[in-house]
C-alpha cells in the first residue's frame, strides 16, 4: 500500500516530542524495534512513559496508535466491530487492527485496567506468529512488517485483582521507568514548564517529600507531570505556595491529615 494514502497518516507525529533520556532506554527500544519485539514500559504515573513512546515513534518515523485501556474495554474495542449501516452491517477496524494491518506502533496505555480476557487478544501478535485473528469476520491478519506493540503498566497499582497474567507478561521486553535524578528532573521541569532552574529544583525537592510518603498515606508521590503543571502555574503568575497547593497537595490526596502533614513538609522545603 502506498504510504501517502495509509489510514495511519493521521497518527503520524510531525514535530519532535521532547524527551530527556535517563538511561539506555532509547537504544534498548531501538534494538527491540529492529526485531519488532513487543515492549512493556513499567513505571509510576507521570514519569514519561507516554512521552517516551511518542518520541520513539517520531524518531523511527512510524505512526503511533494509542489506546487508553479502561475497565470495560473488550476485545472488540481493540480489534474492531460490525456497525449497522443502511445497507446492513459493515466492519470497522479497531485501533489495534489498524496498526496491525498498516504497520504502526500500537501503544496500549495502562493495560492492566482492561479486563483480563481482553489482553489475550494480543497474545498471537506477540509471539513468532505475529497474527491477529478476527473471529467475527473469519479473517486472519498477518501483521505488517512495521507493526510493533508497546504496552505500559504501572506496578504501583498492581494488586491481586489487577495484575497482568503471567502468560502476557512473559511476551514483552520490559523497560523500567522511574522519576529521573533530581538534576535531570529539574531540567525537564524547567524546560517543559518554562521556569528557571531554581524553581524547578525546588519543585523536585517537594516532589521528593511526597514520593517518600508513598505507602505512608500516599499511594503515589507527585509525578514529573504534576511538577510541570505546577511550574506552569507559577510561570503564569500564581504565587508559589498557592500553585503547590493547587498543583500538588490537593490533587494528590483527599485525606485531611495527610494533606496537613504534606503541607508541613512542603513548607519545610520552601525558602
Amino acid at each position: 500500500m502506498d504510504a501517502s494514502t495509509s489510514p495511519l497518516d493521521r497518527y503520524r507525529i510531525a514535530a519532535e516530542p521532547f524527551y530527556q533520556p535517563v538511561d539506555n532506554e532509547v537504544s534498548v527500544f531501538e534494538a527491540a524495534w529492529q526485531h519488532r519485539l513487543p515492549v512493556m514500559l513499567k513505571g509510576p504515573t507521570g514519569c514519561g512513559k507516554t512521552r517516551f513512546v511518542e518520541h520513539m515513534a517520531w524518531k523511527l518515523g512510524r505512526p503511533l496508535v494509542t489506546v487508553a485501556a479502561h475497565e470495560d474495554m473488550t476485545a472488540a474495542d481493540l480489534a474492531g466491530r460490525f456497525l449497522l449501516g443502511p445497507e446492513g452491517t459493515m466492519w470497522q477496524d479497531g485501533p489495534l487492527t489498524l496498526a496491525v494491518r498498516h504497520g504502526g506502533i500500537c501503544y496500549l496505555d495502562e493495560i492492566v485496567e482492561a479486563r483480563q480476557d481482553t489482553t489475550v487478544v494480543i497474545h498471537p501478535l506477540t509471539d513468532a506468529r505475529r497474527v491477529l485473528p478476527l473471529e467475527k469476520r473469519g479473517e486472519l491478519i498477518h501483521a505488517h512488517p512495521d507493526f510493533q506493540l508497546v504496552i505500559s503498566y504501572n506496578p504501583g497499582y498492581q494488586s491481586a485483582v489487577k495484575d497482568l497474567k503471567e502468560s502476557t507478561k512473559q511476551r514483552f521486553i520490559a523497560l523500567d521507568f522511574d522519576y529521573p535524578e533530581p538534576v535531570l528532573e529539574a531540567g525537564i521541569v524547567a524546560r517543559e514548564a518554562g521556569t528557571d532552574t531554581e524553581l524547578a529544583g525546588l519543585l523536585v525537592t517537594i516532589a521528593g517529600c511526597t514520593r517518600r510518603l508513598r505507602g505512608q498515606g500516599l499511594d503515589e508521590g507527585a509525578s514529573t507531570r504534576m511538577l510541570i503543571h505546577t511550574g506552569r502555574l507559577v510561570a503564569g503568575g500564581v504565587p508559589l505556595e498557592m500553585a503547590v497547593r493547587a498543583g500538588i497537595i490537593l490533587p494528590i490526596t483527599d485525606d485531611a491529615d495527610v494533606r496537613e502533614t504534606l503541607g508541613a513538609a512542603i513548607s519545610a522545603c520552601l525558602p
Binding site: 485483582v161 489487577k162 517529600c209 511526597t210 517518600r212 510518603l213 505512608q216 502533614t261 513548607s267 522545603c269
Partner: protein, 785 residues
C-alpha cells in the same frame, strides 16, 4: 393575689396559707418555720431569692430544698445550699444559673447525699459554689451528673474529689475532669486504698492524668502525622521513618519533659504541659523535625569518657546547631518551624542555663544581637568550621572549649536541674554512649543520666492507663468463677470416628467463652506500622467496591447495540415476524451478597515467638484486623470467632464479633484480648461456626479458617482422626452451601490443610509475615468468585 402579701415582713413569721400556684414553696416555708434552728437563715435566703425571682420561678428551687431535707442532709447541707443559692444567684446572670438550675442542683445534691452521706453532699455543694461561675447552665448539669455518678462509684472519696474540684477545673476542661473521674473509678476498681489515693491526687496515675489536663493535642493524636512528616523529609535515608514512642508526662512541679532519642527511636512527651491547640501541633512538629535531623545527620554516639556534665551540655548544644544547619540547608523552611521557639534575649544574669539558650539562639538566628563575649566566640568558632559541618567531631571540639570558658567565668552549671532550651530540642542523652564504665563516671553525670534511666524504668513498670488495662470484668457484675473460666455450654456436636467408621453423637461439648478485652491500641499501632500493606488492601477494597460490571445482553435499553440481537431482529422483520425489540447491551454492577466467618485458631502453638518478638497469634490478630477493616469497608456480613479446646467436653468458642454487631473498638478490644492456649479440635469448632453462619441470609457463605497447625487434642491419640472429622465437617458444610477455606501457617508445607479443606481450598502460608496480605488477597479472590 398572694403575690404582694407574701413579701410583707409582717406575714413572714406566720406559716403561709396554702396556695395552688406555689405548692412546693408553700410547703417548704411551712416545714422550715417548724425548725427553730433554720428558720431565720431560711427567711433570709427566701427574702434574698424573692427579690430576684418570681414565686412561681422559685418552685424548682423549693423542690430541691425539700428533697435535701427529705434525704436528711442535715442543717449544714441546707445552710450551705442556701448560701450557695444566694451568692450564685447574685453573681451569675439568670441565663447562666436560674432558680431552675439551683433547684436541679439541690436535687442532684440530694442524690449525692443518698449515695455518699451528708458530709459528702456538703463538700459537693461547697465545691459547686466555688466552680459554678466557670460553667454554663449545660455544663453545670453535666457537672452534677458526674458528681452523682462519682458519689455512687466512690462514696468515700467524693468529698476529696469535690475538694480538689477548683484545682481540677482550673487546669482542664469539664470533659477532661469527667474523664479523670471515670478513670479513677475504673482504675481503682474495688481497691479502696487506691481509689482514695487517686481522688486525693496522690496516686501516680491521677498525678499523670492531672498533668496531662489542659494540654494537647498530645502524642497519641499527632503520632501518625509526625511519622509521616519525618518520612517525607528524610524517608530516603536508612532507618527512616524512625519509630516514635511516647514518654510519660512528668508530675506537676517536676521539670518539663524534652524529647529523647534512644538509638533509632524518637521518644516524645505524651503532652507538652500547658501547650494546647495549634501551638502543641507546632511544638511536636518542631521537636520531631529536630530529632529527625539528629538521626539524619548525626554521627556515631560520642564516648562519654571523662566528659563533665557542663561539657556534655555544651557539646549537645553545638551538635544541635550543626544538625539544624545541615537540615536547613536542605529544607530552608525548617527555619520557620524552629524560629518561634528561640525567644531568649540578652540578660545580665550569669546563669549557665540562660547563657546556653542564648548561644543556641545565636547559632540559629544570624540576626540575633548579644553583647556577651562567649556568644561571639561560639559564633566565630562555628562559622570557622562552616565548611566542615558534616563532621560531628566539631561539636565535641567547640563544645569543650565553650565549657572551659564557662568554667573560667565560674558560672555554675546545675547538672541535675538542667532542662534543654528551647523546648523543641531533645535532652541530648541520645548523643552519648555511656558505655560500660559505670564506675568511672563522675557522680554528676550519673545524676544527669539518672533522670533518663528512671524514666525508662517508670515506663516499663508504670501501671497501664485505665483504658489500656485489661478489664477482666466490669465492677459489680460478678459471675461464678468456674463458668467464667470454661464458659457457658451452648451445644453438643457429634464427631466422626474414622476408625470405627461411625459418627459418635453428642461427642463434643462446645462452650462459648466470654472474650477478655485487650488494648485495642496495640492493635491499632500494629496496623499503623503495617501502613503500606494496609494501603494496598484499601486499594483492593476500593476496586472491589466499585464492583465488576456485568454485561447484560438483549436489553430493552442500553448504551450499545447487541449485534446478534439486532441481526436477528432485522431478519425477523424481513421475514415478516414481529421483531424482538430487546436489541441493546447494558452493563450493571454486580451486587455483593456475601457473608464471611473468620475462625481463628488460638491454640498453644500460636504462642511461638518470631524473631522480631511478635507471637504467631499477634500476626494472626493483625491479619484478621486488616481483613476486618477491609470487610467493614465493603459492607460484607462478617463475623470473627476464635477457638481452642481441652478435651472433647471443653471446646471453647469465643465470639470476637458477631454478624449482628458492627466492627468497632469493642471488637478490636476483644480481638486484642485473645490469648494463646490449649489445643485444636477443629471439627467441633467448624460445626459451631457452620451453625452460626447458616443463620445468616446471604447468597454466598464463606468460612475462613486461620490455623497454624494440625488438629489435635489432649484426649485424642491419633490426630489423623481429627483430620478426618474436620474433612467430614467441611464436606457437610459444602453440601449446605457454605464454603470452607483454610489458611494454614505451614512453613514446612507438610501440613494436612489440603487433606481437610481440599487442595484448591487451602492456602499454605510459608512465611508468617506474609499472612496479613495473603489473607486479604485470598478474601478478595474468593469474594469475586
Amino acid at each position: 393575689m398572694t403575690l404582694p402579701t407574701a413579701s410583707l415582713p409582717t406575714l413572714n413569721l406566720a406559716a403561709p396559707a396554702p396556695s395552688a400556684a406555689t405548692p412546693f414553696g408553700d410547703e417548704l416555708r411551712r416545714q422550715m418555720h417548724g425548725r427553730a434552728l433554720l428558720r431565720a437563715s431560711f427567711e433570709e435566703t427566701w427574702q434574698a431569692l424573692r427579690r430576684r425571682y418570681e414565686p412561681a420561678a422559685l418552685e424548682p428551687w423549693a423542690t430541691g430544698v425539700l428533697e435535701l431535707a427529705k434525704v436528711n442532709a442535715g442543717p449544714g447541707c441546707l445552710l450551705a445550699f442556701w448560701r450557695a443559692s444566694v451568692t450564685l444567684g447574685r453573681r451569675l446572670p439568670p441565663d447562666a444559673l436560674g432558680a431552675a438550675g439551683l433547684g436541679a442542683a439541690g436535687l442532684a445534691a440530694a442524690n449525692v447525699c443518698r449515695a455518699a452521706g451528708a458530709p459528702a453532699a456538703l463538700a459537693v455543694i461547697e465545691a459547686f459554689e466555688r466552680i459554678a461561675e466557670r460553667l454554663d447552665a449545660e455544663a453545670q448539669r453535666r457537672w452534677w451528673t458526674m458528681m452523682t455518678a462519682t458519689a455512687q462509684g466512690a462514696p468515700d472519696e467524693i468529698a476529696l474529689f469535690a475538694g480538689h474540684m477548683p484545682t481540677l477545673l482550673a487546669r482542664g476542661s469539664l470533659a477532661e475532669v469527667e474523664a479523670f473521674a471515670t478513670a479513677g473509678r475504673r482504675a481503682a476498681g474495688r481497691d479502696r486504698a487506691r481509689r482514695r489515693a487517686f481522688f486525693a491526687l496522690e496516686d501516680p496515675l491521677s498525678r499523670r492524668l492531672l498533668a496531662r489536663m489542659g494540654a494537647g493535642p498530645g502524642f497519641a493524636e499527632l503520632e501518625v502525622g509526625l511519622r509521616r512528616l519525618l518520612a517525607a523529609l528524610w524517608g530516603d535515608r536508612p532507618g527512616f521513618p524512625p519509630s516514635l514512642q511516647p514518654l510519660p508526662v512528668p508530675e506537676i512541679g517536676d521539670a518539663p519533659r524534652r524529647a529523647n532519642i534512644a538509638g533509632p527511636v524518637i521518644r516524645l512527651p505524651e503532652v507538652f504541659s500547658g501547650v494546647t491547640g495549634a501551638a502543641s501541633h507546632a511544638l511536636y512538629r518542631a521537636a520531631s523535625a529536630h530529632a529527625g535531623a539528629h538521626l539524619a545527620y548525626g554521627g556515631p554516639r560520642f564516648t562519654l569518657g571523662k566528659v563533665k556534665p557542663v561539657q556534655m551540655a555544651c557539646i549537645n548544644l553545638i551538635e544541635d546547631a550543626r544538625i539544624e544547619t545541615l537540615a536547613m540547608a536542605r529544607f530552608p523552611g525548617l527555619r520557620r518551624l524552629w524560629a518561634p521557639f528561640h525567644v531568649t534575649a540578652p540578660s545580665a544574669e550569669p546563669l549557665a542555663a540562660l547563657l546556653l539558650a542564648r548561644i543556641a539562639r545565636a547559632l540559629f538566628d544570624p540576626g540575633y544581637q548579644d553583647p556577651d563575649a562567649l556568644i561571639a566566640k561560639a559564633r566565630a568558632l562555628f562559622a570557622e568550621r562552616s565548611d566542615r559541618l558534616d563532621d560531628p567531631a566539631l561539636s565535641f571540639d567547640i563544645g569543650t572549649r565553650l565549657a572551659n570558658d564557662l568554667g573560667q567565668r565560674r558560672i555554675r552549671f546545675d547538672a541535675r536541674g538542667h532542662v534543654v532550651e528551647p523546648a523543641y530540642r531533645d535532652d541530648g542523652l541520645g548523643l552519648w554512649d555511656f558505655g560500660e564504665e559505670n564506675a568511672e563516671r563522675t557522680e554528676e553525670v550519673e545524676l544527669a543520666v539518672d533522670a533518663a534511666r528512671i524514666e525508662r524504668r517508670e515506663e516499663e513498670n508504670a501501671p497501664q492507663p485505665p483504658e489500656a488495662a485489661p478489664q477482666p470484668e466490669p465492677t459489680g457484675r460478678a459471675r461464678p468463677a468456674p463458668a467464667d473460666e470454661r464458659g457457658r455450654i451452648v451445644a453438643r456436636y457429634p464427631e466422626w470416628d474414622a476408625q470405627a467408621g461411625l459418627e459418635r453423637a453428642d461427642w463434643t461439648t462446645l462452650r462459648e467463652v466470654e472474650p477478655a478485652l485487650g488494648d485495642p491500641r496495640t492493635l491499632a499501632r500494629a496496623l499503623e506500622r503495617a501502613g503500606p500493606l494496609r494501603a494496598r488492601i484499601a486499594r483492593l477494597v476500593r476496586a472491589a467496591k466499585v464492583g465488576r460490571a456485568v454485561r447484560l445482553k438483549r436489553q430493552v435499553e442500553g448504551h450499545a447495540l447487541d449485534l446478534d440481537a439486532a441481526i436477528e431482529a432485522a431478519v425477523s422483520r424481513r421475514v415478516g415476524e414481529t421483531p424482538d425489540e430487546r436489541v441493546f447491551t447494558a452493563s450493571a454492577l454486580r451486587q455483593r451478597d456475601l457473608a464471611v466467618l473468620v475462625l481463628l485458631d488460638t491454640s498453644e502453638s500460636t504462642r511461638e515467638r518470631l524473631p522480631d518478638g511478635a507471637s504467631v497469634l499477634d500476626i494472626e490478630k493483625l491479619a484478621v484486623a486488616m481483613l476486618a477493616e477491609a470487610m467493614a469497608g465493603l459492607g460484607d456480613e462478617m463475623a470473627l470467632a476464635a477457638f481452642a479446646s481441652a478435651g472433647r467436653d471443653d471446646v471453647r468458642y469465643i465470639h470476637v464479633k458477631r454478624f449482628t454487631e458492627r466492627y468497632s473498638e469493642d471488637g478490636a478490644a476483644r480481638l486484642a484480648g485473645l490469648q494463646s492456649g490449649l489445643s485444636t479440635r477443629l471439627g467441633a469448632a467448624l460445626r459451631h461456626a457452620g451453625e452460626e453462619i447458616a443463620g445468616v441470609r446471604a447468597f454466598r457463605k464463606l468460612i475462613l479458617v486461620l490455623t497454624d497447625g494440625e488438629p489435635s487434642d489432649i484426649d485424642v491419640d491419633r490426630p489423623s482422626d481429627l483430620v478426618a472429622d474436620a474433612r467430614r465437617v467441611v464436606l457437610g458444610l459444602r453440601a449446605r452451601g457454605i464454603d470452607t477455606f483454610g489458611v494454614t501457617l505451614d512453613p514446612g508445607g507438610v501440613g494436612s490443610g489440603a487433606a481437610i479443606f481440599g487442595t484448591t481450598n487451602t492456602m499454605p502460608v510459608r512465611r508468617i509475615d506474609d499472612l496479613p496480605m495473603r489473607l486479604s488477597e485470598l478474601y478478595f479472590r474468593l469474594a469475586r468468585r
